[in-house]
Structures are given as structure tokens and as C-alpha cells.
């Protein structure tokens, strides 16, 4: 006896419908340009650098990393960079929070925002040039202090740790501030008013209402500002002591690549730099899990 194939009318949804139900349809193709872009400009160079770092000029496949971690001139750069990047980022955040709380209530926010964005657009080199003139031994800052008799010798403020520190604060602050401001203004002001009517003082309102709601935003802000500060290069060279206290990790990578012409070693340093950043960022982001992360408004609206 012959059985015909099942009539098509009882077939389930077509392949196209089933794919669409799982989120794959023609619109998904719009992801392609972005995927190609990141593949060419991020994934490929990263993979290339990673492989290159395991192909040293001489020695075994790990010898670049062995050399980095056995030479204090090289591994010290991690500590020196962190010693700049972490305090600078924390200072920027600590400065940005109270200012953001004040600016949130101001009417001419846009003017202030414009002024603050300027250092970002000027670029680190111009800021470094300015600081060299302003904070240098013959700069206005020292001359003013000496004119008022507050100091007898010019303070050494450039070509050392503090020069780089100042430059990183100036270029990093606007970025940190704008991010912080957006998080602070994102919190429903009625929450603070409610806390006030319930008897909470200004400090208690900050401590019990704002801070827990802002912590996740502060974590993101910290990460983005930290990554920016960690990759400091021009100001460490121009305003710092690039052979001494401000010999940051990017200087080590630069010297390996363009002074020793050892691209493999430079790649290894870049990889180490990346992993240090990654470790800090992952640690900070993971700590967000300790805090409430839902919407920061009182009601469903």
C-alpha cells in the first residue's frame, strides 16, 4: 500500500518564520557593517598583536613576558601608571560629584558644559604646552606666589609626577563630570524631597538615597575615566619625567616599538597594559552587583 507524503497544509511555520521568532530576520543584516568594522579595526589588530607578542625576536614563545616581569625597569611601569591613573580618577570623581550636585540646580547649565568640554576638544598636547608655561619656574603661577611672598623659590610643578597629575585632572575632569552629571540628573528629585519630609538631613539624603542609586553609575564613570588616564602618553612625556617617576607603561611600549624596533616586545607590553586595565575594570564592574541596579525613579510612571 502506498502512503503519500503528509499534505503540506499541516506543515508548521516556515524556516523564515521560525528564524524570525528567534530574532533573526532581514533587519539582523543591518548588524553586518558594524560587525565588519569591529572585526577589521578591533578584533584583527588585537589578535595580530596577541600572536605577535608570542613570537619574540629570540627565546621561547613566552620570553617577552618573562623579560617584562623580570626587568624592574619594565614591570615598574605598571605601578607607576596605576599610581597616576587611580588617584587622578578618584580625585576627578570626588570633585565631580559635589559640583554635579550643585550644577543640577543651575539654570545656565549649557554655558558651563561648553566651558568644560573645551579641554577635551583642545587635546592633551595643547593643555600640556599651556601647563608648561603656566606652572613652569618662570610661569605666572610661581611668579604670582613669589610676588606675594608666599614662596621664595619657584615650586617644581612640571617635569615630575605633579605635572602629569595636573594635566590628567584637567583633561579628564570634564569627561568625568559630564558623565556624573548625567547620572545625578537621572535621579527623580522627588526621592530627595520624600527623604527630606521623612526627616533625613542633607548628608543622610546623600548617604541613604543618592549614593546607593548612583554607585552603579559611578562604577561606569570610574572605569571609563580610569581607562583614559591609564593610557596616558603625551602629557607623561611633555610634562613628566619620562625616564623617572612618570615612565608609564605606554612609554615602555613606545620605546620597545620605535627605539628598539622590537614590535613583538611592544605587542607584549600592550597586551599586559590591556590586561591590567581589564582586571581593574572587571573588578569595579563586578562590584556593581552589590548595589541596586534598577530604574532610579520612584514609580512605574
Amino acid at each position: 500500500m502506498h502512503q503519500t507524503v503528509a499534505p503540506s497544509i499541516i506543515q508548521g511555520p516556515s524556516l523564515r518564520q521560525r528564524l524570525a521568532a528567534r530574532g533573526f530576520d532581514a533587519v539582523t543584516l543591518l548588524v553586518v557593517p558594524a560587525a565588519v568594522f569591529s572585526l577589521c579595526l578591533f578584533v584583527y589588530p588585537f589578535a595580530f598583536g596577541l600572536i605577535l607578542s608570542f613570537e619574540p625576536k629570540s627565546g621561547g614563545w613566552l620570553s617577552n613576558y618573562v623579560r617584562f616581569f623580570s626587568d624592574s625597569f619594565l614591570y615598574d611601569t605598571i605601578g607607576k601608571t596605576l599610581w597616576l591613573a587611580v588617584p587622578v580618577t578618584l580625585l576627578n570623581l570626588v570633585l565631580a560629584v559635589p559640583i554635579a550636585f550643585r550644577v543640577r540646580l543651575m539654570r545656565h547649565q549649557r554655558l558651563l558644559t561648553t566651558i568644560l568640554v573645551l579641554p577635551i576638544t583642545l587635546g592633551t598636547v595643547l593643555v600640556a604646552e599651556g601647563l608648561l608655561n603656566y606652572l613652569g619656574p618662570q610661569g605666572w603661577f610661581n611668579r604670582t606666589l613669589m610676588t606675594f611672598g608666599l614662596i621664595s623659590q619657584p615650586l617644581k610643578l612640571v617635569h615630575n609626577y605633579w605635572g602629569v597629575f595636573a594635566s590628567l585632572v584637567i583633561t579628564g575632569f570634564p569627561f568625568t563630570f559630564l558623565l556624573t552629571l548625567s547620572y545625578v540628573t537621572g535621579i527623580d528629585p522627588a526621592l530627595e524631597q520624600a527623604a527630606a519630609t521623612l526627616g533625613a538631613s542633607a548628608w543622610q539624603r546623600f548617604r541613604h538615597v543618592y549614593l546607593p542609586l548612583l554607585m552603579p553609575g559611578f562604577a561606569i564613570t570610574f572605569c571609563l575615566s580610569f581607562v583614559q588616564a591609564f593610557s596616558v602618553f603625551p602629557s607623561a612625556v611633555l610634562l613628566g619625567a619620562p625616564a623617572g617617576p612618570t615612565r608609564v607603561i605606554s612609554i615602555a611600549a613606545y620605546q620597545a616599538a620605535f627605539e628598539e624596533y622590537d614590535y613583538s616586545m611592544a605587542s607584549a607590553i600592550a597586551m599586559i597594559m590591556g590586561f591590567v586595565q581589564l582586571a581593574i575594570v572587571v573588578a569595579v564592574l563586578a562590584s556593581r552587583g552589590l548595589f541596586y541596579r534598577g530604574p532610579a525613579s520612584g514609580a512605574k510612571g
Binding site: D188, A190, L191, Q193, A194, A195, A196, T197, L198, G199, A200, S201, Q204, H208, V209, P212, L213, F291, Y292, G294, P295, A296, S297, G298, A299, K300, G301
Partner: protein, 357 residues
């Protein structure tokens, strides 16, 4: 009962004003609220009712006048020093705290012991009927439940005064009626002196002991719901109290509290509520319930029916006169749209007002 409200005799607003630049949001508001009273501030949006509430709470500084709690002046105190409980329109629950923490927040800020906080929060949870939910976050609750938490949080601190800013406006119609009864029940149980802001006259009429009608930052009338409903003092108050038919005309006569107004040639007589000058513009205000379709006669106007709706016991229709006046009326019989009918109201059901300034 563990929630015992602070004792005082009255809250007094003495010539309270609030300016925003050139805008006078409140102008010389005088109001005395007695202990255990439920006061509704009623008015259209922008009338200053929320501004009044925020001034009392301390969220907005007053620019003139003073607020007194018995003999102590409170308008110079910060909101956290006043200790009035406030229920916000969007509830303003702390999203990162569970119900227990939300309700206990005010007690914690007052430095109460853990045992006392727990006891009072339990009592508040029982009062708003949210036992068993105390470990949920506000985001996991429905609108009505959030509302209950907001009320519990405001009353658990045992405030002399509870301030509510349109607390039901974010709820759907059915829930609004339920929560209205709930607010009434809680008020009866605690006797908390309450100032309740609303733009809904039904809420004001059903909840309040006294209603304050505001317009453009000025108190227009203060009275019991019955007084306001039966004898509104001004046309705008009447409008809020359901006088949907406002017939513009000119005063023909005014004596002994009775007035006759000429509306499109028809003589409409009613009760004069304000001082009227013969010949001046006046409005005859009539509730749609009191305007009945029928035959020509005294106090009747000829109109053409626009729409007619079936409402079970009777019909409710809209109509328009030759002069372009709009009417809402009721009818015991079905009238066809387009039909010419006469609308009439009994003399004592017509209130005559002067033109508002």
C-alpha cells in the same frame, strides 16, 4: 494602637504668598486647619494647590506670610525639621529599598531603635494591608500597592500633618475608587490631620471635611462639601461643583436674593449668589441633572438636540440654542438628535453669578 499622632490644635496659613519671578503662584492665602480635619485643596491645574502643599511641606520657601503650628512658626524650618508626612503624586518610593526599609526610613532617620522601628512598621503594614509583602522592592508592586506603601511611609513617623499631592491620579478608575475608600478608612482609624490636593471634585466631595477651592493662587471659597455643592459662591466654583450649563445673559432684575436673567430673549429666574447690577452681564448656572427636556413655559429655553445617550434610568443629551449656547440635560424620554425641545429648570435650582473678574 502604636501609631499615635502628635498632638496640636491647628495649622494656620497666615497671608502666605509664593512668587516665581513675576508670577504670583499664591496670593495671601489664609487658612486654618484644625486637628483631625481632612482638608481638600481643589482647583484646576496651575491654580496653586500643589504650590500650597509644597510650601507647607517646606519643599518650596514662601515669599510672604507665615505658617504656624499652634504657637510655633514652621515656614522658616527645613522640611526635615517640620516632620510632616507627605505622599507624592508619583509616590517617590526609594527604589533600592524593600517595603520594610521604605516604611521604616523616617523612623531610622529619627534614630529610633530597631525594635521600635520593627514594631511600628508592622503596625503600618497592617494598617495599609500589606503584610507578607515587606521584602519586595517597590518595582515589584502594582500601582495601588505602591500607593499604600507611600501612605504607610508618611504616617508611620506619626506626623502632626499628612500632606497628599494628587495621590490617586496615577491609578485607573476602579483602583482610584478603592484607594479613595482606603484613604478614608485610614483617616478614620488614625484621625490624621490631612491636606489633600486634587483636581477631582468627586474625590474632594467624598473625602474632605472641608474643601478649599483655589483659582490663580487665590482662595475662592472654603466650606464643607455640602456648602460648596449646594451654594457655590462664584461661577468658577460652581463650574467645579458640576454646574455644567452656564448661560450668559444680562440681568433684568435683582431683589430679595432672586435674580432674573435675559438669556437669548428668555427670562430665566434663579437664586442670586453674588451682587448683581441690573443690565450687567451675568451667568445662570444649572446642573445637567436639573435641566430637563419638556414643554415650553416659564424658565424654559428652546434648543436643538445634538446627541442623546442612554444611561439606564434616563437619557443624557447635549443641545445647542439658536444663539450658540451649549447645554447638557437629562430626559426621561428618548428625544431624537435634531429635535427641537425646551429645556427648563426649577427657579431654586438656578444660581445666578456675576461675570468673573
Amino acid at each position: 494602637m502604636t501609631i499615635a499622632l502628635s498632638q496640636f490644635n491647628e495649622v494656620r496659613l497666615d497671608n502666605v504668598s509664593r512668587d516665581f519671578g513675576a508670577l504670583n503662584a499664591l496670593r495671601n492665602v489664609n487658612l486654618t486647619i484644625r486637628r483631625r480635619e481632612f482638608i481638600a485643596l481643589l482647583g484646576p491645574s496651575g491654580c496653586g494647590k500643589s504650590t500650597t502643599l509644597n510650601c507647607i511641606a517646606g519643599l518650596l520657601p514662601v515669599t510672604g506670610g507665615a505658617i504656624w503650628l499652634d504657637k510655633s512658626r514652621v515656614d522658616t524650618l527645613k522640611p526635615e525639621e517640620r516632620g510632616f508626612g507627605m505622599v507624592f503624586q508619583n509616590y517617590a518610593l526609594f527604589p533600592h529599598m524593600n517595603l520594610r526599609q521604605n516604611i521604616g526610613f523616617g523612623l531610622k532617620m529619627r534614630g529610633k531603635t530597631k525594635a521600635e522601628i520593627d514594631r511600628k512598621v508592622d503596625e503600618a503594614l497592617r494598617l495599609v494591608r500589606l503584610q507578607g509583602q515587606e521584602h519586595k522592592l517597590p518595582g515589584q508592586l502594582s500601582g495601588g500597592q505602591q500607593q499604600r506603601v507611600a501612605i504607610a511611609r508618611a504616617i508611620v513617623i506619626e506626623p502632626p500633618l499628612v500632606l497628599m499631592d494628587e495621590p490617586l491620579s496615577n491609578l485607573d478608575a476602579k483602583l482610584r475608587l478603592e484607594m479613595r475608600a482606603e484613604i478614608r478608612r485610614i483617616h478614620n482609624e488614625l484621625g490624621a490631620t490631612t491636606i489633600y490636593v486634587t483636581h477631582d471634585q468627586d474625590e474632594a466631595l467624598s473625602l474632605a471635611d472641608r474643601i478649599v477651592v483655589l483659582r490663580d493662587g487665590v482662595v475662592r471659597q472654603v466650606g464643607t462639601p455640602k456648602e460648596l455643592y449646594e451654594a457655590p459662591a462664584h461661577l468658577d466654583v460652581a463650574d467645579f461643583m458640576g454646574f455644567r450649563n452656564k448661560l450668559k445673559g444680562s440681568v433684568v432684575s435683582h431683589d430679595n436674593g432672586r435674580a432674573v436673567v435675559d438669556v437669548e430673549g428668555a427670562k430665566i429666574s434663579g437664586v442670586a449668589r453674588e451682587k448683581l447690577a441690573v443690565g450687567a452681564v451675568a451667568f445662570a448656572a444649572i446642573r445637567s441633572d436639573d435641566l430637563v427636556a419638556g414643554e415650553p413655559g416659564p424658565n424654559a429655553l428652546a434648543v436643538t438636540v445634538d446627541t442623546i445617550e442612554y444611561r439606564g434610568r434616563e437619557f443624557v443629551g447635549t443641545a445647542r440654542s439658536r444663539g450658540g449656547l451649549d447645554f447638557v440635560f437629562r430626559s426621561h424620554v428618548a428625544v431624537e438628535p435634531g429635535a427641537a425641545v425646551h429645556l427648563r429648570a426649577a427657579d431654586e435650582r438656578v444660581l445666578v453669578f456675576a461675570e468673573p473678574a
